[in-house]
């Protein structure tokens, strides 16, 4: 967005046959025009209107945190969202998982030659709306165009900047045996919504991605229990990756209860159909919170006041036993390890 036009307003309509060409990535007037037509109107905010390649934020009150994520999802549009809103929510959530209040986002686009401008605008509109809803500006951005066959529609890398209030010290080093493990809601909705659209797997479902920004809920949680130990969003790799990352190679374990973990019926069914495990499936609007056991109920109460946390539950505890492992009591009362995924989860027939 090196050159957001300083007089927005006049926005020519996008013709349905207009496509991104290599020219749009040349850095010349066509690039500026693309930005002016597609991004500027939807992202409009004072930071972006500084008209500079670099966005200047105010002096933050607290330590700053930063997080980045590339979004390469296919299909680009799916029930409950699209790559644009996802790229906003995903990074806002990563910042929020640091206990921080997000103050700005950046967006880097890698667009494949031939991509329909109308689709790009739809994505920009969705991003802009998600950022506005979240109250966090897209402060600066970048667009690159790659030749047809060297990309996949659009990739969006977003980076989020946040400010951590003093006194909040969240991090994996804060884990201790006896702490409670909370989950903000149902597992697998995002991944199943995506799979349902994937070529060759198509199935019908009413499941929508849970893609949502969690920072407002987190702000309330941090206010209610500033000493909470850890927040994580179980995205790619699902709950199993999130929990295993925390304990692998440490002196702590985690014990969870399969019966306590909320999974929607259709999500469970889709997983049975494809031979997948809901614990491995990506979520985009859920969080795991680890806190002192005595903070568990107050925090659940806070979470349940937010739409994103309405189904929040305690699913387990941090333990000193079986360090390095996540252990689960199964639906029938047996036990097993919850391993994390090896490689990507492939639909299977065995």
């Amino acid at each position: 967005m090196e050159s957001i036009d300083r007089e927005p307003g006049r926005r020519p309509t996008i013709r349905p046959d207009e496509r991104v060409t290599m020219s749009h990535g040349g850095g010349g007037r066509a690039t500026a025009e693309l930005i002016r037509r597609i991004f500027a109107p939807h992202f409009a905010n004072p930071l972006l209107e500084q008209g500079h390649d670099v966005a200047r934020l105010e002096r933050p009150e607290g330590r700053i945190v930063v997080s980045t994520d590339g979004h390469v999802i296919s299909p680009l549009f799916f029930p409950g969202g699209d790559i644009g809103s996802l790229a906003v929510h995903g990074t806002l959530n990563d910042v929020a998982m640091g206990g921080a209040r997000p103050i700005a986002l950046t967006a880097g686009f890698v667009i494949e030659e031939g991509f329909a401008l109308a689709d790009l605008e739809r994505i920009a509109a969705s991003m802009g709306a998600a950022a506005r809803r979240a109250g966090v500006p897209i402060a600066t951005g970048d667009t690159k165009v790659v030749e047809r066959g060297k990309g996949d529609g659009v990739f969006i890398t977003t980076t989020g900047i946040g400010v951590v209030p003093d006194g909040v010290e969240i991090g994996p080093d804060r884990l201790a045996a006896g702490q409670a493990v909370l989950l903000s809601g149902t597992l697998g909705d995002h991944g199943v919504a995506i799979l349902s659209q994937r070529q060759g797997l198509e199935f019908g479902t009413t499941i929508r991605s849970d893609s949502a920004a969690l920072h407002r809920m987190v702000a309330d949680m941090v206010a209610a229990a500033p000493g909470l130990a850890l927040l994580r969003d179980p995205t790619r790799g699902g709950l199993s990756a999130t929990l295993n990352e925390l304990v692998e190679g440490t002196r702590l374990g985690i014990a969870i209860d399969e019966a306590a973990i909320p999974v929607r019926g259709e999500v469970a069914s889709a997983c049975e159909l494809l031979g997948l495990d809901p614990l491995h499936i990506a979520n985009e609007g859920k969080l795991v919170c680890i806190c002192d056991a005595r903070d568990a109920e107050p925090l659940l109460a806070v979470m349940r006041r937010h739409p994103e946390g309405r189904e929040a539950v305690r699913i387990g505890s941090v333990t000193a036993e079986q360090p390095g492992f996540v252990r689960m009591t199964t639906a029938i009362g047996g036990t097993r390890i919850v391993d994390w995924l090896s490689g990507e989860q492939l639909p299977r027939i065995c």
């Binding site: 469970a268 492992f325 029938i332 047996g334 390890i337 391993d339 299977r348």
Partner: protein, 392 residues
């Protein structure tokens, strides 16, 4: 989901477990082989072991078609992609299985080979329709359950005149393998395990019926219970086996009566018979060459047979030397008996197929019971060390 959740009910599970505890003879061991990887997976995923007494042992059988496919056949599939330039359509299960030289269909794809994951033979046909200029080969693997869909695909290809479609057939037959395991002479007798009964195949039986297992009770005097794949089905079937053993009965019982009949799906059987014929013998990993244990495509459908269509070179495919998959597939070793387990061999870097397939015993132990297994291995090593010290 109806007919799924009911069979995962915790209260019912506890009730069945209590009955089992009450009925087992604590003075003896019960060794039951679950032939099917599907059972292996259910046992581990739900921790069924935790609900049965310690003297009830599950012996994991060769019923995972991914695990028993010789590495040579996978190398052949890779040759189809790389030398013959075909589009190879495969179920997701095969993609990470190690072939020779640390390769896999996944790595072949990463190197540019046209390997496509399909969910169904319906999708493979679609790939062939959409790529009329390319040869499209479906990698057919699986037991009797999975064969009829392959048969239908071949018939459909013939009807449509899809001349660019063929099948690399690796379909195998369950009863022959069970018989082979029980024909002790072919298995190292020192390693042989005394089996007290079988959890019989679940979905295989939906197709072929329970009748093909009757030789087990008749000729080998082994109790069999055809068992569903849900955890309660497993518990229930174990109880039924314990009762046969305790009562000295030997029968083929059917716990999975909601799906399995004595005669099975005769329509599917007829279709399979039309398109396939028995191979005189087929190599099974772990079992060696097993007579009458696999299918090939009949001459009359030879146009759809990738083995006839493409010249496949002679090759010397070699398994990883220390991999114990063969013994594990015969039920004579457990994953903890493999010194590569968990050190060199993990699901990220599998040395054998049993570490890849979600029905493989090594994968099951790793994924669901690693903590216990590693602890046992350490204990075993300590014993050996202690023994050596004592001896010194």
């Amino acid at each position: 989901m109806k007919y799924v959740e009911e069979f995962r009910d915790r209260a019912l599970a506890e009730r069945l477990a209590a009955t089992i505890r009450a009925e087992v003879d604590p003075a003896r061991d019960y060794n039951f082989m679950e032939f099917c990887g599907g059972h292996t997976h259910a046992i581990f995923r739900y921790g069924v072991q935790d609900l049965v007494p310690a003297n009830v042992h599950f012996v994991h059988g060769p019923g995972c078609p991914v695990c028993i496919l010789p590495i040579r056949r996978l190398d052949d599939a890779i040759e189809l992609v790389e030398r013959h330039g075909v589009i190879l359509c495969s179920y997701g299960d095969m993609l990470r299985v190690p072939a020779s030289k640390r390769r896999s269909l996944m790595s072949v794809k990463a190197e540019g080979g046209d390997v496509r994951m399909v969910y169904s033979t319906l999708d493979a046909l679609d790939v062939a329709r959409k790529n009329p200029d390319r040869e499209v080969v479906f990698l057919g693997i699986g037991f009797e359950t999975t064969t009829p869909p392959t048969a239908l695909a071949i018939r459909q290809a013939e009807i449509e005149g899809l001349t660019n479609f063929s099948v690399f057939c690796n379909h195998v037959l369950t009863p022959a393998a069970i018989r082979h395991i029980l024909d002790a002479p072919e298995i190292d007798p020192a390693q042989a395990v005394r089996l007290d009964g079988f959890l019989g195949p679940s979905h295989v039986s939906a197709v072929i019926g329970s009748e093909p297992y009757e030789f087990l009770s008749e000729s080998y005097a082994k109790p069999v219970v055809i068992a569903g794949f849900e955890p309660l089905d497993v518990l229930h079937s174990v109880l039924m086996l314990i009762r046969q053993v305790n009562e000295g009965r030997v029968a083929v019982e059917n716990q999975y009566a909601r799906v399995v009949t004595r005669e099975g799906n005769t329509r599917a059987q007829a279709l399979v018979a039309e398109i396939f014929e028995r191979r005189a013998a087929f190599e099974w990993r772990g079992l060696g060459s097993v007579p009458d244990s696999a299918l090939s495509i009949r001459e009359s459908y030879g146009a759809f047979d990738a083995e006839r269509r493409f010249a496949l070179s002679a090759k010397t495919s070699r398994e990883v030397k220390s991999c114990e998959c063969p013994a594990i597939l015969r039920g004579v070793k457990k994953p903890k008996d493999c010194k590569l387990f968990g050190t060199v061999c993990t699901p990220d870097n599998p040395m054998g197929s049993c570490m890849v397939s979600s029905e493989g015993a090594c994968a099951a132990y790793w994924t669901y019971r690693r903590a216990e297994t590693l602890a046992e291995m350490a204990a075993d090593r300590a014993c050996v060390a202690a023994g050596l010290e004592d001896a010194a």
